[in-house]
């Protein structure tokens, strides 16, 4: 399944647009725990000389690294999957939120719109309640023609207000991961 494209959108793919939003807003460091859907973005980040990109062993670790980097003057972002986000509440509640870190999270959404793994479907339901309980900004991006505006403005707002944001990439945007019988 290919990524959905709006009729009047450019030929850019969602990962091109997200990479551009990162770079135009000075994101210099990207840490991630991989996800199948995020593969093209991860590949382009690794090829980009202006962005330090590497995997971590846990999402908490990835958040710790970009938090430290921001305190040192380097803006970063963290890429993860829905189930990875579910490992983060303590780190968000004890580091990112109270220390007012502009934590930029990109979450590839599993668990909905054709999920085939019941574990993924269940854990997905915890994500937005956790974000809401911490009063963290989050946007679910479904359309490629809205991606640049949402990503660009959200990164700017995170930095200006020193408050984290989660950009949730819906299967409507990315195509998601589908069951191959």
């Amino acid at each position: 399944m290919s990524a959905r494209t709006a009729p009047d959108a450019t030929r850019e793919t969602w990962d091109d647009i997200l990479l551009r939003a990162f770079k135009s807003n000075g994101v210099k460091l990207v840490t991630y725990v991989p996800d199948r859907v995020l593969t093209p973005l991860i590949g382009k980040l690794h090829s980009d000389r202006d962005v330090i990109t590497f995997p971590t062993t846990r999402e908490e670790e990835a958040v710790g690294i970009v938090s430290g980097a921001w305190m040192g003057g380097m803006l970063g972002a963290v890429l993860m999957q829905t189930s990875g986000f579910a490992t983060l509440p303590n780190t968000l509640a004890s580091l990112a939120v109270p220390y007012q870190v502009p934590l930029i999270m990109v979450v590839s959404e599993r668990g909905t719109l054709g999920e085939f793994n019941s574990g993924q479907a269940m854990v997905c339901r915890t994500m937005r309640p956790v974000l809401d309980s911490l009063a963290m900004e989050h946007h679910t991006i479904t359309r490629i023609d809205e991606l640049e505006f949402i990503a660009d403005r959200s990164i700017k707002q995170a930095v200006a207000t020193q408050a984290g944001v989660a950009l949730i990439l819906s299967p409507l945007l990315t195509g998601g991961k589908v069951f191959k019988a």
Partner: protein, 203 residues
Amino acid sequence: MTTRNDGRGAGSNAKIMNRADITKRLVSRLEKGEAVVGGIGNTNFDLWAAGQRPENFYMLGSMGLAFPIALGVALAQPQRHVFALEGDGSLLMQMGCLATIAAVAPKNLTLVVMDNGVYQITGGQPTPAAAGTDFVAAAQAMGIGNAAWAADEEDFERLVVASLSAGRPTLIAARIDNQPAVATTHRDPVQIRERFMKGIGAR
């Protein structure tokens, strides 16, 4: 020399030192505005007690993230050396970060493990590692080749100074006693973070 011949591997012959004392010794060796990240609990309490330098960052939660936070600071400021102080129980929470640090291989990062074999702040319960885990051997196996037990206070200071010019990540493990911290950090996260950012020139 007081030793703990408890069969816990290569560090068993290391002298049991005091966290507040060796933290002061570490800080006394810093002459170029080196950043220091203190892990949760007693580790950052004793860092606070050692002088409240503006280049210090004190964690209030996020157990296990002192090393990852320090890695981030080290990447953002490659000209500044960064130290991270972590308890043994905290490191066990996030052992994987040693593989990440080995892979990224910053030249300006020193990791200090304060190992007393217990979760001291929760009542001194032994950690699972107390039965025989050797943190130096573990770090080396995960790719941090430059890792050593501090034999005594003098050796600890020597390892701290050597790490400043090692050109690769260093891990120093120190056997410590179970004395509580000598002070308590003032717990205002925004003030801690803002002071740290000003202290390392990011504001």
